[in-house]
Symmetry: C3
Subunit: 151 residues, 3 copies
């Protein structure tokens, strides 16, 4: 691009909203969200595996629905599912900002931690963990996790 036209564009932009508007108005977004892995219910879109807006990524709650119904095995599956979705969205475990962990039973807290520790790198995300109703995680999973990450 030729310098004069860049300057013109810059000035035009400044006269409009994009640059000063940005400085003034905070975050401005011209994007639409992107989604991955849509799950249907009765042939109608129910939820996505991930959504993305700008550099922010949101991952759906992931459970484990197979044998053995044991907390370490289920935690391992759930972490792998999260990682798969994160990578598909262009992010990674190291770029996770916030995780929510829903346990089927608070007695599984230590077992979950044993597998969870270190999995998000040296600078881990924040985390909130609670046990919901027994059987309260869909599909009889012993644990469900979701997260917010970036790219």
């Amino acid at each position: 691009m030729e310098r004069r036209s860049i300057l013109k564009k810059l000035l035009a932009s400044a006269a409009g909203i994009s640059i000063f508007g940005f400085a003034k108005a905070g975050i401005v977004n011209n994007d639409e969200k992107e989604v991955n892995n849509i799950t249907n219910h009765q042939d109608v879109p129910l939820f996505s595996g991930s959504t993305k807006l700008g550099n922010m990524v949101f991952i759906a709650g992931k459970g484990a629905h197979v044998e053995p119904f044991e907390i370490k095995a289920h935690t391992e599956i759930v972490l792998q599912e999260l990682e798969k979705e994160l990578k598909k969205a262009g992010s990674s475990m190291e770029k996770v900002l916030k995780v929510t962990v829903f346990l089927n039973d608070i007695a599984d807290y230590q077992g979950m931690n044993d597998v969870y520790k270190g999995r998000f790198g040296k600078n881990p995300p924040v985390r909130t963990t609670v046990a919901v109703a027994k059987g309260g995680v869909p599909g009889n999973s012993l644990v469900e996790m979701d997260c917010i990450a970036y790219i």
Copy 2:
């Protein structure tokens, strides 16, 4: 605005933090949040129906507190409440990124899905669903949902 003064402002801005600071530091925000529909408790602000910062919108947890206490009816009410708040904040169901669904009873999972499906458009948000304690949703609602969206 006269061109020379725009250029001046641009240069002044560049000398400060707003433009290069932005490019260098990632997201910079000069906004304060905006809120809608404040609920008081004993005449003191308790929570807002929505908060907004830049293009991000956060909607409060919505329940249903009327007859019939049946999952499809309550899901319908909750979705309508979410939509009302989203529109008031300048967003829409199609612009939701993440939904969290708290059920009173995991047995209501399918009934909730039957009403929920398709309500957020072709590219639905991610979702996390769990059942909390029986009676664990305030006001005896059978379901509570909150969401994060954009404008």
Copy 3:
């Protein structure tokens, strides 16, 4: 910085992605997250007390783990813990956008509100409150709260 070089940088920037790229692509992030107060499990990073990306701040779930096991005392402790983390991350109670409250018992809803009201200023965050399983908050806390804020 001398004016000519600023202009050069501005033009160079415009020719690249940072300024117009931003206006076009929505949120652009050149930052890595920052974290505070890492908690280890078996000498390995488990979670952080807060994470920060650009102007967004995420605070870990906070509980209360001391006598008296009474909702108002625990709510007070949790709110103070949130505030400490927020300040450490450069934010404040007034800049919280979204709070999630997990109660041990829905019967504690009013007691929690009595202490919670007004604590986030005149324009409070959105909130989602549910009661999880009895004993479902780690460490026998009667309440756990996390939040999303900004700087």
